[in-house]
Amino acid sequence: MNDTVAAISTPPGEGGIGVIRISGAGSRAVLERLFRPGKGGGRARDAAVCFRDRHMRYGRIVDPKSGSVIDEVLAVFMAAPRSYTGEDVAEIHCHGSAAALRRALALTLREGARLAEAGEFTKRAFLNGRLDLAQAEAVIDLIQAKADTTFDAAIRQLDGSLSRAVKNLRDRVTELLVRVAADLDYPEEDVGALSPRDLCESLSSIGDEIEKLSATAHAGRIVREGLRVVIAGKPNVGKSSLLNALLRESRAIVTDVPGTTRDLIEEGVHLRGLPVRLTDTAGIRETADPVESLGVAGSLNAIARSDLVLLVLDASAPLDAADAHVLRQIANRRFVVILNKCDLPARVDADAARAFAAASAAAAGGTEGPLAVVGASMRDGTGLPALEDVIESFVFPGRTLPAADAFVTNVRHADLLARASAELREGLATAERGETADLTEINLRRAWELLGEITGETAGADIVEEIFARFCLGK
């Protein structure tokens, strides 16, 4: 009963802060795996920390696998029974960006928590004697009301392509499971047992499909909220021209005077059908002008919240310290280099730009160089299609867009898909070790149940029913 559960426990929408609550015996371990104290400078992989009961700490949530920083947070651990639920509880107070909050939640699920059901914290609180009897009715209402809205939301989410994609995957698991199960219960009949090789191939192919769908969890959010793209560069390299070219209209003022764009300009645009929120930043340079320095601070903030940075460099002038300064600011982001002004006599080629960008970013602790270097000219539009290609493949890696544009946009679904795919991987490993099919069947059945939780088909359904519907069996 008392497994560890986690959920975002502040209302949806952009607030000042957002709180992730983790409750259960494993909550402390989950928190300690994700939390790193202090600002951390450029290095994300610091020593872990032991939380003391009821002491709040400042630090970062870091993905322990990739080392990337998700958010700056305050976090606290409250030992049982002195907590809201009466169990061990950890809380992570994030900065309020919905994306960061979701990413942090996804990490807690990966590190051993399960997504809390509707009203589960309150239910646990009541069952552990933390609420009085008078509150019981309210808890009951809460559970049913939340179950209803969750259900509605799930249905709304599911009408359409995701539902079809998951259903299709589940049908394939069902088919496999039924063949394995029928052969186990009817060894003397002509079920057409799967060879170990066919079983492995099917497991691996279904697993791959689920993983492809899982990978859209990232794309799914982008589809819903838009890709946050920031245009950055030192003054007067053509940032505003790039914005205009992407917008195909003159929204930003383009002049030859450095520092013209002092306000942030944000525009929504669809690139290849993908919603993109484009932000043109003030040129980033060290400046004494107080107005301009405000603009620079705003730019840095926008960069920190971006999904992708378009770094504009001038191909007609040597790369200099000002370019390196900008690169230092974006070192920890994913970025593309736009080598602008290709129509002028070139002083910098693509290889040099790539090497310079990689070196500058690395010097500032960046782990990855530019995603791509695109030669371009804003004057005649050269390079724009190539840039759109790069953005598209950033969102949909490998251009393996699932059929009918199914996207996973919901943490619960992403969690279930990840668990289903883990089961299939384990089943595959079992089968590849040469174990018998009845052991693989355990994983198959679990994956089947997990996928059913997405489509709402687990309840009442029965694999035994399926066996008799599909095979002519019996004596």
């Binding site: 009541f126 019981a136 009951i140 559970i143 049913q144 186990l184 219960d185 052991l439 002519c472 004596k475």
Partner: protein
């Protein structure tokens, strides 16, 4: 008609089929004065359908019945004529013993076991009504006017209750194999307000072996090494017969299709619900038109008869059509038939009207078992009979019910499915129904259950001692294999011989045994000091070591499962009055009256949210002063 009082008993069992026999024996062995009434003593432990015991899921049930101190395993070990372990090439979780029985001998041995049993009286007599006072059963009325008083009654009426046979256009009231049906009792139970429903089952024709061309069929031999059903037996007899496999063909299917409207089933005569997993041949041909052929198995009915059973070909066709389609099959061209196939419809109850101890919710002291509860199969019946007999005896003693849960036994899965989910067609056990298959193996039924059977007073002292010895031997051998280490050089020849890479460092024998390619017996060359163990112990030592990781993982799942099973729900919970639970769920819960939160979760139509609300109400109630 004048009624007269006969003897008084603690427990009276109605019916002496596979359920009734186990019920009577269990109650008597637990010290209850027991009467077993059968409409016809020549039908005791009758195998009205196929001449076999065991199979997938079912074999496990027989081993569990045996481990608790039941009779089925002992009788089949005495009377089998061929034995096989099904699924031997698959994992141990699905190894399933199955044996062909000599039908007549099986009947005789089981009847003799009842006759021998202290405290048990086996009598012929037709029960026509229950005697119920204050909602509590207290006796039975027979057709003769005889009244037997009882403190508990077990109903195990099988296909006799309201039995009606169908063969093509002909239909008549009858029990199985031409025995008389129990028609009056069915009427009386209806009059008492029991909601009875009609289920059906069917059986194929029997033919004379000498009229069949066995050389045109595929022979199926028994296993060279036979695993006994009973844990009491270290070894048993040998195979005496072979079965044969042949196939239907396009001509068979054409004959069936042409005559479909003459079958009782497709002609519309049969109203009862038949099991999909035991389809008649007309069902198979009709529902799966793409199948070019269906397998059938020729199984001898015994050593003292030439009759054989045509398994896989049950039918409700008229006799002339039966003759024609059977004879269209390779090997059956000149078949001479001794008995025609038929369908039989019978009365049964909705098992949702039973508690998990198989006691009726409305009539206290009335226990129900077997086909009467909507199951099918000898083994399913025997398992319920055993549990009904145990619980009837416990009621007489004034003790708490004995219930096995889904993690303890297939018997637990069977009864929990029946009383929690109900049935829409006759229920057959399958390994796919068990969540904890790797734990509920046929080889370890004694380790799971004999302790419990002994504590009940059901398993004998002798059985208990055999179990203790086996348990000790198993544990010691596992410990020894874990402690015995080998150097890479020691293991090299064995591993190279199997085409495996050499060891990188030292390893215990247990670690080596975990490799899929290496069995316990193969390790003998590296293990000269091993004790001489019997086949059963060797097998389970191997299984417990090889699958240790999986078994451990399953044990954790079982612990989570148990935490919900252990959370008891009060019997007098008024589900209809609980707010916050959807009305469909309220009705279902109110009907099932689950004994635990775990069981409530398995009731169909109960959502996780409903269950959470139920927990809150439970807590509220506990908090009440």
């Amino acid at each position: 008609m004048r009624q007269y009082e006969m003897e008084q008993y603690d427990v009276v069992v109605v019916g002496a089929g596979h359920a009734g026999c186990e019920a009577g024996l269990a109650a008597a062995r637990m010290g209850a004065e027991t009467l077993v009434l059968s409409i016809q003593l020549d039908a005791v432990a009758l195998m009205a359908c196929n001449p076999a015991i065991g199979g997938t899921g079912k074999g496990q049930l027989v081993k569990e019945i045996d481990a608790l101190g039941g009779e089925m395993g002992l009788v089949i070990d005495k009377t089998f004529i061929q034995s096989r372990m099904l699924n031997r090439t698959k994992g141990p979780a699905v190894h399933s013993p199955r044996a062909q029985a000599d039908k007549r001998r099986y009947h005789e041995e089981m009847k003799a076991a009842l006759e021998r049993q202290q405290g048990l009286c086996l009598k012929q007599g037709e029960v026509v009504d229950l005697i119920v006072e204050d909602g509590c059963v207290c006796g039975l009325l027979l057709r003769t006017g005889a009244v037997y008083r009882a403190r508990a009654v077990v109903l195990a009426t099988g296909t006799f209750l309201g039995g009606r046979v169908f063969m093509g256009e002909s239909t008549y009231e009858s029990g199985p194999c031409g025995f008389a049906p129990a028609a009056a009792l069915a009427e009386a139970l209806r009059a008492r307000g029991l909601a009875l429903r009609r289920f059906k089952t069917g059986t194929p024709a029997r033919a004379l072996a000498r009229s069949l061309h066995f050389e045109r069929m595929e022979e199926q031999k028994g296993d060279a090494e036979i695993v006994p059903f009973s844990f009491m037996n270290a070894s048993v007899g040998e195979n005496k017969v072979s079965c044969r496999l042949t196939w239907t063909n396009a001509k068979t299917h054409a004959i069936i299709r042409e005559n479909l409207t003459r079958s009782s089933l497709y002609g519309g005569l049969i109203k009862g619900v038949g099991p999909r997993y035991c389809p008649s041949i007309e069902d198979k041909v009709n529902r799966f038109p793409d199948r070019e052929r269906h397998p059938l198995f020729i199984e001898p009915e015994g050593l003292s008869t030439d009759e054989v059973y045509i398994q896989g070909m049950s039918t409700s066709m008229p006799e002339d059509v039966q003759r024609d389609f059977y004879r269209s099959i390779r090997g059956l061209e000149d078949a001479v038939f001794t008995r025609a196939g038929y369908s039989i419809e019978y009365d049964c109850i909705d098992p949702l009207s039973l508690y998990a101890n198989l006691e009726h919710k409305e009539i206290a002291g009335l226990f129900c078992a077997g086909q009467f509860n909507g199951s099918s199969g000898y083994e399913e019946a025997a398992a319920q009979g055993l549990m009904a007999g145990i619980n009837a005896a416990l009621r007489v003693r004034g003790e708490a019910p004995f219930i096995l849960d889904r993690s303890e036994a297939y018997i637990g899965v069977l009864i929990d499915d029946l009383v929690t989910k109900g049935v829409e067609e006759p229920y057959r056990m399958m390994t796919a129904r068990a969540e904890y298959r790797l734990t509920l193996r046929q080889d370890n039924a004694d380790l799971r259950l004999t302790e419990k059977g002994y504590a009940l007073g059901l398993a004998s002292r002798e059985r208990y001692e055999i179990y203790l010895r086996a348990k000790k031997e198993t544990e010691e051998e596992i410990g020894r294999l874990r402690a015995a280490t080998l150097s890479p050089a020691d293991a090299e020849s064995l591993l190279a011989g199997l085409g495996l890479a050499p060891l990188a460092s030292g390893s215990s024998l247990a670690e080596l045994l975990k490799r899929p390619q290496i069995g316990y017996d193969a390790l003998a060359v590296l293990d000269p000091g091993r004790p001489g163990l019997d086949a059963r112990t060797r097998a389970r030592v191997e299984i417990q070591i090889k699958y240790e990781g999986y078994i451990k993982k399953q044990r954790e799942q079982i612990e989570r499962f148990k935490s919900l099973e252990d959370k008891r729900l009060p019997e007098d919970f008024d589900y209809l009055a609980l707010d916050g639970i959807r009305s469909e769920a309220k009705q279902r819960l109110s009907k099932v009256r689950p004994r635990s939160v775990g069981q409530a979760a398995r009731v169909s139509g109960v959502s996780p949210a409903d269950l959470n609300v139920l927990l809150i109400h439970l807590k509220k109630r506990e908090g009440r002063p």
